[in-house]
Every structure is written in C-alpha cells, then in structure tokens.
C-alpha cells in the first residue's frame, strides 16, 4: 500500500512540484475528463425525465422543474389560452399510454369530473373522451348512424350530409360536444402541452408572479413566457437573469424500471427478452469462437502441412475486408441456410475471426514443441494434446480473445440486423435500443437508460478481467 502511495506521489521536482509535474498532472486530469465526462453525461442524462430531455435541458444533474399545462380551447368567442397547474403525470402523458394501461390504471371520466368549464373541455379532448361522449349523445337522441362515421369521411362524401341541422335543438354543452366531435366551426380539437413553471417580477405590477415557459435556454438573454394569471395576455419577454426557477433534484427512475418491467407507454419493449437474447448470443458465440479459433490456430501453429502458409495468409487477408462489404453475402448465406430469424443466424456467421486465429497462433508458437512430443510419447491422442495441453497453456491469449469476443458480440449491430431484423422476438439489446427510435414518439429517456443497462455487462467484464487482458496481451507473441 505504501508503495502505491509512494508511486502516485512521486514527483519530478525534489520535494515540491516542478513545472513538469504540473504539466503532467494537468495532462492526466484532462485525459481523465475527456474519457470520463461523456460517460458521466450519459449516466446523468439517463435519469432525466422525458420532459427534460425533450426540452433539451443542459443541466448535468436531473433537476426537474415544476410543471404546468398550457391548454388552448376553441369556442364561439374564439381561441382561449390558459394554464392548468398540478396535473398528475399520467394525464400529461396520456397520449403515450398503451391502451391496456389507459383502461386499467386510471379512470379518465372520474378524473375530469373534478373539473368544469374550459379546463374540462381541454382535458376531455386530451383524454380522448370526446368521441365516447358524442356517441352516447347520438344514441340517446336517436340521431342517424352516419353521424358517428361523419368525422372519418372523405371531404366529398361529407358534402352529401348536413350535420348542422342536428345541433338546433341541443343545449350549449351538447352543441359543443357534438361540434368538437364532428369538427364543425367554430369548434376545433383543443390543444394541450406541458410547460415549465417559473417566477419573475412583473414589470407592470412590480410583483413576483408565475409564468409558464415552453423552453428554457439559459444561454439566451430573454425567455418567452406567458403570465399564468393572465394567459390571454400573450407572450412577454423576460430577461433570463431575472427569472426564478424552482428546480428539484428528481431522478426519473422509471426510465429504468418501465422498460425492465415491460411497462413502456405507447409501445411494447421487452427489455428482459432483449437482454436474454444478447446474453445467449454473447455466451454461446464466445464459446464457439474460442473453440473454432483455437483449433484453427493449433493446426496452423503446430502441424506441418502443404499450403500452411497459404491458409494463414488467406485468413489474415480477410482482415482487410471491411465488414460492411460482407453484409449482402452474409445475408444471402443466412437466408439460404434458413438461419434468418433465429439467434443462430447471429452467432454462426461471426464465429471464426481472423484476429482471433492470428492472435492465438502467435501465442501457440511460443509453446515448445517438446511438450507436444512428450504428450505424444505419453500416448495422448491429437485431440487430447489440443484439449489438455495446448488449450490450457494458451489460456492467457484465449482469455483476451474471449473478452474481446464478449465485447464485440454484445455491441454488435450489423449481424443482428442482417439475421434477425424481421423477427422481434430475436432482437438483441442493440437492436432493441435502435427500435426505440422511430415508429411512435421519441423515447429518448428510455433509450438512454437502456443504453446504460446495456453497458453494464461489458463494463463488468472489463473490471474483473482486465488483468487478463493486460497480462495476456503482454504475453502474446513477445514471450
């Protein structure tokens, strides 16, 4: 231990830090930051809420803001903009919930019954209750069936009907409901967005008041804000320095728990299945890779046969072929052999690697031939020479190959894309991460969290096996 301390506290200058020491420390520190900051950034961002990520929040820590909802309601008096405070998350993110969750977890009818007026209308649109309520009304009043289909008709078809006549005998509430459903003027679908709550001094009243802001970019001089007590008053510019933002450290653990419990809003993402697939591919492929490569290396290093050099050169030459060139070939191979859609289609095409063969061959060349001859005198078969003598003696190099293979396989995207991209149940973690993007809304918060999860195995492999890497690489070839 004292040797370690002595090692680390050693200086160039005698008894004090010299110029060179400063430079060295600065260099080390910079290097550390360059390597460590992106990782730290990823870790901290992975526990930021979806809201923060969408607002391109630049804080390092997951500091969440107080949130409000900015709603827009249309009516005979025109557009009305107002703010609703203190809504639960599930309401804010209603559109991204899966259908099962919408019904099971929460009852929107019960929830909006606590509101009235414009807030009620906004929430009714947001929670998708307009069509339910309208259908009930149509049935109750015995209005014709086509009214229900009217909103989904083509514009040409709509001309043949006149829905306005049914509004005549209805009360004000019913007119609004049916008009919103049918899309009749002056009603329109109501708007609903989540915003940040800030406080600032009102220039006119000189009092601290609450504002709602859609995006907070502290690099700009002013912030576009809407006064909550008078939302109709329009956007005002507030100097960034004057605003008071209420931030709370609120890590969003659901980024992790939702995907891992298969509970992602709006899409099915089975993280456990993905991880299982990746673990299976990684372990089986690594075992096969180690076996195949070490057998090839054994033959190339310990037997003399015609064309030995040629074989070795051909194997090495494949190192120069970029993986992307092989995509089509591998795809054809995989589909011809019927391996597409199965994990074996991911495992088998990459099982033999020129790097591995080369590395192991070089290492095995350092094993003295006399050992093999001794084993032959000991009546060992060629297989047991390989399995009981050469394989155990090459373990340092094999460990290096195994570690590299684990990392390659775990992080590989190309082979899974070639082999299993059409079969969701066979997705590896990297494909699953890619799948988060696209189809529905961006789910960056889950993607970041799952990226962190996907880094854990390779990190563990590195932490626990890095001494094999260093000793193994040190021993390979230079013994």
């Amino acid at each position: 231990m004292s040797a370690v301390i002595k090692f680390f506290s050693r200086t160039h200058g005698k008894n004090k830090l010299s110029f060179i020491d400063w430079i060295a420390y600065l260099y080390l520190f910079l290097g550390f930051l360059i390597i460590f900051l992106p990782v730290l950034w990823l870790l901290l961002n992975s526990i930021k809420s979806q809201f923060l990520l969408q607002k391109l929040d630049t804080n390092l820590l997951p500091l969440d803001y107080d949130r409000v909802v900015r709603a827009t309601v249309f009516g005979p008096d025109g557009k009305e903009i107002f703010i609703i405070k203190d809504l639960p998350d599930w309401v804010i993110y209603w559109n991204e919930l899966r259908d099962e969750d919408k019904k099971e977890v929460n009852d929107p009818n019960l929830f909006i019954s606590k509101f009235e007026g414009k807030e009620y209308y906004a929430l009714r649109t947001h929670l998708g209750l307009v069509s339910d309520h309208a259908k009930e009304l149509i049935e109750e009043k015995n209005f014709p069936e086509w009214l229900i289909k009217y909103p989904s008709m083509f514009p040409d078809a709509k001309k043949e009907y006149n829905p306005e006549e049914y509004l005549i005998n209805l009360n004000e509430e019913e007119v609004r409901l049916l008009s919103e459903f049918l899309g009749l003027k002056p009603y329109k679908p109501n708007g609903f967005t989540s915003q940040i709550l800030i406080s600032a001094k009102n220039k006119e009243t000189n009092e601290i008041e609450e504002y709602s802001v859609s995006r907070l970019n502290t690099n700009k001089d002013t912030v576009n804000a809407r006064l909550i007590s008078n939302p109709q008053g329009g956007i005002v510019k507030i100097p960034t320095d004057d605003i008071i933002v209420n931030k709370k450290l609120r890590p969003s653990w659901i980024n992790y728990s939702d995907p891992l419990t298969n509970n992602v809003r709006g899409m099915s993402f089975d993280a456990i299945k993905c991880l299982n697939n990746s673990v299976f591919v990684t372990i089986i492929a690594t075992i096969i890779t180690v076996l195949i490569n070490s057998m090839a290396a054994f033959a190339l290093s310990k037997y003399k046969f015609n064309g030995q050099i040629i074989f070795f050169i051909i194997i090495l030459a494949t190192l120069m072929v970029p993986a992307s060139v092989l995509i089509v070939g591998i795809f054809k191979m995989v589909s011809v052999t019927g391996l597409n859609g199965t994990l074996w289609g991911v495992i088998i095409p990459g099982a033999a690697t020129p790097t591995g063969v080369f590395m192991l061959r070089q290492y095995m060349l350092t094993i003295p031939d006399e050992l093999l001859e001794a084993a032959r005198m000991d009546a060992a078969s060629e297989w047991s020479i390989y399995w009981r003598i050469v394989f155990p003696l090459s373990l340092p190099a094999i460990a290096v190959l195994a570690i590299l293979s684990i990392i390659w396989r775990w992080n590989d995207l190309i082979l899974p894309m070639i082999a299993v991209s059409t079969t969701k149940t066979a997705y590896t973690i990297q494909l699953c991460l890619l799948d988060f993007q696209g189809e529905y809304v961006a789910q960056e918060h889950y993607r970041l969290a799952m990226t962190v999860v996907s880094l854990i195995p390779t990190t563990l492999v590195f932490v626990f096996l890095q001494r094999y890497i260093t000793t193994g690489i040190a021993n390979t070839g230079i013994k």
């Binding site: 003295p368 006399e370 050992l371 001859e373 001794a374 084993a375 032959r376 005198m377 000991d378 009546a379 060992a380 078969s381 047991s384 009981r388 003598i389 155990p392 003696l393």
Partner: protein, 340 residues
C-alpha cells in the same frame, strides 16, 4: 524388456541427408549410450527410434517387429527430454498420471504406480506442486518419473543431465545407473559428455556426422579405438596426435607400415628417455594431485602430458617425454587404426 535393432536407417531433411545408413543392435537390458559431437545426429536418431520423426529409409525393429509405421504413442517407449518437457499447468502428480490416463488405466493402478515412482525417486513431498515450483534437479526426477510410471519396454534419454550443475549431474548420473540396475530395462542414452558415456554405458555408440564410428564397451573404446576420430573423442584430455614425418627416427623405425600418425594419450606419457620425444614446455598447470604440461615438439606438433604427481618442471624448459610401446596408437592416412 525388449531388444532394438536398426537396419540401414537413413534420414533426410529435404535433400539433406543427416543420418547415413545406421546399423545397430541393442540387447535386452543393455544401457547403450550414443555419444558424438554436437550436430552429429544423436537426437535425430533417438527421435526416430521414439517415433517422433519419420524415417526416410531402413527399418527399426523392436523385439523383432518392424515398427516403422507405428505411432510414437503405440511403440510403448518412454522418453526423457533435455528440457524435461513437463506440462507446466499440471501438478507433478498430474504430469505422472497423464500418460496412464491416456492408456485408460484404472485409477487405483495409476495411484499405485505414481506412489511407487515417487518413492523410488524420493519426490513424495512435491507431488502436488507445479513444475514451476521445482528446482532443476527435482524437475529432472519428475521427468524420469514420468517415464518410469509408464513401465516402458525401452527408455530413451536425450541429454537429460545437461541442464544440471556439475555436482547434481554427478549425483543424478549415479542414481540413474542404480535405477537401471534395479529396473533392468533397455535404456538408450544420448549425451555428448564422454564422462557420462564412460561411467554409465554397457555399450557406447560413437557417432560422427550421421554415421557410427565405433560401437563397444567403454574400456574397449578407450584401449582400442578403431579410428582417429574415436581415439580423439574418447578420453580427456584429448589424445595427442603427431604426424609421422615429425617423429624421431627411432620411433619411425618401430612404426607399422603405412602409418601416417602416432596417437598417444597424455596420461601415458612420462618423463623418460626411452621412446622419447623432445618437448618444449610452454605452460604448466599444477592441480595438486595431477600436473598438466603443454608444449610443442618439432614441427609445432602440440603435445599435452598428464602426470599424476607434482612436478618442478618450469615453462620454457626442454624435456624428454617417453611412453610404452603398448600405449601407442598408429593410424593410416584414412585415420584407421593399425595394429603394431
């Protein structure tokens, strides 16, 4: 228990022939030593007997059976390598057991044999250690033990002692000899150390450049070398050779016809006048029990003399050295020994 016979055995590496047709018969229970200068093909010959090296021509017979195409594993021989070739990742016990396991032997029998070998070679204490934790001498025993447990018909040794220090080499030499006496197996032993050859062998095979120069019992080779090479190779210090032309007339007269050189061992020369040469002494080495004199005679012929007493002869002195006629060896122009 087996005999070994080589018939016109040859070995080529590509176009280069390194063993040029060797005939040899080794009897059951014989301790046969192959000696020769470095690179003469001793190891190659031994490895061919073991089956590790293909033979290019000729036959190898073990117990009168031709074994040319039988693999090393199935010839039933055991070999001790110069570098010991212990499996570094196995304990001593596993090293010993490996060959027996390959023969599908029962576990009880394996244990019994390992214990026997361990007792014989006094290596019980380190059966559980790995080769890396053993001294050179201990490794040597393990290597020999690995051969013993197999109970082979013939033991092959390739310079097994050359990695040991001088003292240990002498001790192990004696032990090996005792082991041979106890086991009674046929053993073939390669060395380039003639002391090992002289002390251990029942039969010495002197090789040079891929051929056998002479086969015989140790003293036979010493007393009656059949040619100049064997005469010079066996015996330490080396035999003195003096070209016929530079001999004094008195010696020329008694030489057999066709002689071109005279060979005389340093220990057979003494300070006397009869059959004598005059010698200009250049260096004197006093070892206490023995004294060595080095010098030249006429024609710059180098001569060394071993005296088994302390002497007061000084460098740059000229002395007369003589020998008994019985101790003289005469060789013709091809280096073949002539009988006087």
């Amino acid at each position: 228990m087996a005999t070994l016979e080589l018939k016109q055995v040859r070995k080529n590496y590509g176009n280069l022939e390194v063993i040029h047709g060797i005939d040899l018969f080794i009897n059951n229970g014989e301790f046969c030593v192959l000696v020769g200068p470095s690179g003469c093909g001793k190891s190659t010959l031994l490895r061919m007997i073991a089956g590790l090296e293909q033979i290019t021509k000729g036959d190898i017979l073990i117990d009168e059976q031709v074994v040319n195409n039988i693999s090393a594993a199935r010839r039933g021989l055991a070999m001790v390598f110069q570098s010991y070739a212990l499996y570094p990742h196995m304990s001593v016990r596993q090293n010993l057991a490996f060959g027996l396991e390959n023969l599908k032997m029962e576990v009880d029998e394996i244990d019994k044999r390992i214990l026997e070998a361990a007792r014989l070679l006094r290596m019980e204490e380190y059966l559980q250690r790995k080769p890396g934790q053993l001294s050179g001498g201990q490794k040597q025993r393990v290597a020999i033990g690995r051969a013993i447990v197999r109970e082979p018909s013939i033991y092959l040794f390739d310079e097994p002692l050359s990695n040991l220090d001088a003292e240990l080499r002498v001790a192990t030499r004696v032990e090996l000899k005792a082991l041979h006496a106890r086991l009674g197996n046929t053993m073939i032993y390669v060395t380039h150390d003639q002391v090992e050859a002289m002390t251990m062998a029942d039969k010495i095979v002197v090789m040079n450049d891929g051929i056998i120069e002479q086969v015989g019992a140790p003293l036979e080779l010493y007393n009656k070398p059949s040619n100049k090479f064997v005469a010079g190779f066996i015996g330490s210090p080396k035999m003195n050779f003096i070209q016929f032309d530079y001999l004094p007339n008195s010696l020329k007269e008694i030489a057999p016809s066709n002689s071109t050189s005279l060979g005389i061992r340093p220990e057979h020369l003494s300070i006397k006048d009869e059959n004598s040469l005059s010698l200009n002494v250049e260096t004197v080495e006093q070892l206490g029990s023995d004294s060595f004199l080095y010098g030249t005679t006429s024609g710059e012929q180098k001569i060394s003399i071993k005296l088994n007493y302390q002497t007061d002869i000084q460098a740059n002195q000229t002395i007369k050295v003589g020998f008994k006629l019985d101790d003289a060896h005469w060789f013709d122009k091809d280096g073949i020994a002539l009988t006087s």
